[in-house]
């Protein structure tokens, strides 16, 4: 349907946009000066059992550069299961 057609424009709308977010999420934003600081924080959190670390190609590359092991199969396995069973935080 052409969005400029009268049938669309002529409709009465009470709301412009409705969005669905099944689970409300609060983001805690931490911005660190470089990849090394970021991955070190993640590494320590991972050691504490709080974090499973994975990443996009860029993030993974950065993490590996900093000596942090990223195991893509493990991460993919985690990603394939929802909800995640045991970790409190999963940074990715």
């Amino acid at each position: 349907m052409d969005p400029t057609t009268p049938s669309f424009l002529g409709k009465k709308f009470l709301m412009d946009v409705v969005a669905v977010q099944a689970t409300a999420i609060c983001d805690l934003h931490v911005t660190l000066p470089d990849a090394k600081h970021a991955t070190e924080l993640l590494r320590r959190a991972a050691l504490g059992g709080d974090v499973a670390l994975g990443g996009s190609r860029r993030v993974t590359k950065q993490a590996r550069h900093c000596g942090l092991v990223c195991d893509p199969p493990t991460v993919r396995s985690l990603a394939s299961r929802a909800p995640f069973p045991s970790r409190k935080w999963i940074a990715y």
Binding site: V17, A22, T23, I25, H29, S56, V59
Partner: protein, 306 residues
Amino acid sequence: MDRLLREAGPYTCHPGGSASNVLRAAARFGATTRLVGARGDDANGELYAKSLRDAGICTEHLLVKVRDASGAELSTAACCVISHNNERSMRTMFADTARLEVSELREDLFKSCKYLFVSSYACYFEGMLAKLVDVGTGVGCRIFLDLGSFEIVNAYSDQIDLIFGKVDICVCNEDEAAAFSRLHAGVQDPDGAYDEAARWMLGHGVKVAVVVTLGERGCILYERNGDQDAFVKTLHAAVDPEVPVFSIRPVPGMRSAGECCSHSRKAETSTLLFGSRTWQARRRSSLWVPTWMTSRSSGSAERLAR
């Protein structure tokens, strides 16, 4: 993690998720907006709801859930976003979080709404994505789909493919477009992946446009041109390469949004682009405002353009 966060330095807490980002951006442009979802009865949930209300978003249908059917206590999901250089990604643990159930999706939640924004993250909840699209289109909403994550594309393409015929606008990032092309067209070459992803989506029913976001490089807009899979392709580059198109830092005001949609041929294509991953794009010389908003919200448009 709490201790580590304290050691890391100052951090801020914001409502997360693409849905809330879309609504906050749209509200800044003067649109009337509503969020449908669920939260826990806790501090994070309160913060989430208050922030949305402060942004002018209707939270009447943001349900507060205390316990699940088994009596287990529910909470609001929290996601730790650790970043540098504006590169980040994240994942949230949903195990004990309050959530909207598929059975709670009713027509009256969406009736008389122009646009329904859905994310492919809904695939995490069985039947949610298809039900959302069905209910939304059933009451005349236009559907805006965010592919969400390349892992979602890889893991749930069977669910996503089924709804393209009802989607008006689809937005994805580079990784998602590449994953999509690998799955559907066997394309391994990144240079051709975005075109093929858009061609496949438009050929399988996306009605208006596909947007591939490119991070700091801007975005590519593929607008349908005719009945088949032909498209008009335009690249919308970042104005200032030193300033990332996307930043997780809160942007003071939304007046910088809109660059990526400022040259769209059709107003319809652009109406929601500012609300998703392009919402923090820097503007060019003037702010583009969707026509359907200026007719009712010219005051807001003028205020934003200053």
